[in-house]
Assembly symmetry: C2
Homo-oligomer: 205 residues x 2
DNA sequence: GCTTCTATTGACATTTTTGTCGGTAAGACC
DNA sequence: GGTCTTACCGACAAAAATGTCAATAGAAGC
């Protein structure tokens, strides 16, 4: 019943890359605000200011939007970690800041929820980008500290797994147990510190 | 085109409790085999040998089936942990077996995937059962070992979070990184051990 | 201005999934 | 055997979600 019911929308014609970027940025905002289950074709399109057929034209399917977004977020995270790395900083502080970024990305930025979604829908197998992302962090950030590459990969594997667990279930679990928000993250950080301390002290392995 | 196309099915009339149990057991098998996204009304009903309207009659909605199943699995896990607890066993072994059950439940039994599903769909808030489940484990299993209740709750919180992370992402992440399956779980167990060792040695906290 | 290319659109088709409703039959109780 | 309760069924309704397709309109090149 709107007066403008039959008004045609004025088109914006973007380059393919700009169009994809526009859509992915909108999808990321949607992910952070409402979670991955809100990444429906119609919703993503509306947030990006286009029609859902346009999204399909650029990505082929909604699943491809999901994986493209996940890859984009992985690249952002890796870039952020490498960029923020200050060789002058003491090793302990550098480890702390790396862990903080990891937790932030998976917790507040929604990466853990998107990853869980991909895992549940079986789309995670296509994320071959993960391997090179890990290699990049290991080679540029952990190996220079004199860490054995294999041990560094293990450290990344547990850290990421833990950070995803915290990002996904941390606050809900804490709330269900009557603990303050952020408590799980606190304990998880402590867990990693304790492990590294025990490792250095030769208590394990 | 089937010859028996219009054959009426012979009804089995169960008690309400038996009917619910039948449906939940079928749903659990489905969960383990295909994951939570396969827990659709029609699929659960088919697996249980009833019509989907029957499922709705007993649970009201498909979301209620999900939470009922999650609660059932939580109860099973708690019962299993308390039951298998042997006071004669050395403390270290008891901790190991508790951790093993936790990892098994969340990994192979599908609890982590269901929990993630509930988390993503916003249904996890209704799992008030969690609190009493934790209390039960703390009171009957951890406190008797002379552990401070608050510390015991913290231990449960991190352990469960970590186990969920492993159960959900462990194998996929390991595979994406070219590690053998089970590697993530191995590292996670080591992480917990190291933490406790560091704690005992006074290296942290 | 004219042509070409294709990003974008609107309308339609289809599938999947959840939920409603009136009627039917199994089994308990008398 | 008769009655009553309600677990169960079949058919239908409706919404949500993905995807197809022909037509349109920016923008660049000539």
């Amino acid at each position: 019943m709107s007066i403008e019911a039959s008004a045609k929308r004025t088109r914006v014609r973007r380059s393919p890359e700009a169009a994809r970027e526009n859509i992915l940025a909108a999808a990321e905002a949607l992910l952070i605000e409402k979670g991955p289950q809100a990444l429906k074709l119609a919703d993503v399109a509306a947030a990006a200011g286009v029609v859902h057929a346009t999204v399909l034209h650029h990505f082929g399917s909604i699943a491809d939007v999901h994986t493209a977004l996940m890859e984009r977020m992985i690249r952002q995270l890796v870039a952020q970690i490498l960029e923020a790395d200050d060789p002058d900083e003491p090793a302990a502080t550098r480890a702390e800041s790396g862990a903080r970024m990891l937790f932030d990305a998976f917790e507040s930025r929604g990466a853990a929820r998107l990853a869980a979604w991909l895992e549940l829908t079986g789309e995670s197998r296509r994320l071959t980008l993960v391997r090179e992302a890990v290699n990049e962090v290991v080679a540029n950030r952990l190996a220079p500290k004199g860490l054995d590459p294999a041990a560094a990969e293990d450290l990344v594997l547990v850290s990421v797994t833990l950070a995803m667990g915290v990002g996904l279930f941390g606050d809900s679990l804490a709330e269900l147990m009557g603990k303050p928000p952020g408590r799980t993250r606190e304990l998880a950080a402590n867990l990693l510190r304790g492990w590294m301390a025990a490792f250095s002290a030769g208590l394990i392995r």
